[in-house]
Amino acid sequence: MSQVEELPVPEVTSDRATPAGSRDAMRAAPIGSPTGDRAFRGVMTLFGLTILAVPAMMVAQLVRTSQLSLAKFGLSFLTSSTWDPVHQQFGAWPFIYGTVLSSLLALVIAVPVSIGLAIFLSDLAPSRLRKPLGFLVELLAAIPSVVYGFWGIFVLVPALRESVEPLIIKYLGSIPFFEGPPLGFGMLAAGVILAIMIVPTITSITREVLKAVPDTHREAAIGLGATPWDTIRYAVLPAARSGIVGAIILGLNRALGETMAVTMVIGNRPKAAASILAPGYSMASVIANEFAEADSDLYLSALAEMALLLLCVALVMNLMARWLVAMTKNRMGGTA
């Protein structure tokens, strides 16, 4: 009891309500303590509303900053391939293309591996291994993107140039998608590094979704004589499908917005080439490289429009993915 009496009055209330010297008043207040409660709720709600305000401000501010470019280029900004700061011509197509292609490459590599790993972690691995393995995957997510890029320049790019790309060219070089000299720096390098970076995202969310599938599903399958793989294939994966799609979208979202690592290995050439061996450029990379040096308002505004585009894509993909994941988990309804 005495402990309760001695609780200090926090500053939280100073903001609103409760006039000076209210300490005694509050102590005497009835259990509901309407003033204190109202102030507390008010302040916390304010913090909550801040979260709502930030993305709204971002969109508004970026729209404002990209006004010039929006007015001058309109929709042709998305389709034009000319990026010429000297002549004040700005088209985002090569960058959109680079972002999308490198991210799709990343998905092609990362999705099978991530789902395999998530299944391993949730259903197949010996239980002693699961925790440490999960932690190692988290560490992969913790490596700063600039370190990924640095490693990319010195380890991944040479490896691609000397061993992987010559092989690709030798066997698949006649397909336009794989032609060109082995440069190392380029779309493929960006795709591989992005793949490594999004594996933890896809894996951890897929694992959560798989965990949410009730064990009764698994037990039922095993009871019917299913092998471990049959159990996963017929009893677990179907129930988790939309959640896994959500996980993949979140991974894609991370790849689309990733900046530093991509900038360091993609080659930074504003041309939409068909081959994945050719150097390219991404939206995030061009912002990173040129924003601080943009010397005209229109230039700056074109880069801001690129940021706006990235933001909109991120918002839409997140909404979609979160909804899918939440839906899947809810359907499992806490039985897990």
């Binding site: 916390m44 909550g48 979260i51 900053t65 391993f120 990924y148 640095f150 010195f154 017929y234 991120a314």
Partner: protein, 295 residues
Amino acid sequence: MSATPAAHRLLEPGPGDRARHLRSRFFTVLCTLSAVVVLAPLFSIVLYVIKRGLAGVSIAFFTRLPAPVGETGGGMGNAVVGTLVLIAIACAIGLPIGVGAGVYLAEVGRGRLRTVIRFTADVLGGVPSITVGVFVYSLVVVAMHRFSALAGGIALALVMIPTVTRTTEELLRLVPPQLREAALGLGVPAWRSSIFIVLRTALPGIATGVMLAVARIAGETAPLIFTAFNNRYWSFAVDKPMASLPVQILTYATSPYKDWQDQAWTGALVLIVVVFFLNLTARIAASRAMGGSRR
């Protein structure tokens, strides 16, 4: 749960038991292999960074300014301090908002508004950090007419807020309701029990979440390159450009000079050690805190 149609398929005459077991073995091996495939780059990165960076670790690295091209020696002292200052600013701004919003979600909020705010927090977590950089540039740097540590700190705060909010909410929800009921039963006002009973109980867990958020922003480069920018000298002024470890690593890593690249590797090693240490500590603290209540 409704019977899954898939279950019937299992009973149909299939390719035979042997084949099924073989296939199961095959896919188990594939899944195990994917674990190996994922861990390979992790080890490659860590080992390579150690190999290239370890030689440069010295007291001078943490205390000296970067040396001009051609001169050996020098360090990243200003960048190390800069990163600490930027993190401090980010925490000063991001923690109250992040924790406050988390308290709102767990304790105060109701109905649709709460759902919308929780969703928004998640969505905010998925906004590319480069976009955050451009946003803060157009808001703060333009208004101040120069790059500044403050702008960098704000950008990092925006990156950390969603993580802090969601961890706070989740941990507050883990606090047993009996604690609050006991407090209320003793006549403690609801808001006080929220702060002094519920929040306080969850505090160690929230600290863990904060550590993870700090680990994340410690390595962020993209939001800093046009907010805090870079600085070749010692600077503690919040309204001036400030060096940071990630930006310094980027500058040196992409330079053509061997000396600078070596420094960058050492910087990368320091950064990785710090980030891993924060992750490991957070993880251990979390499993210890959960140890009693779960399993």
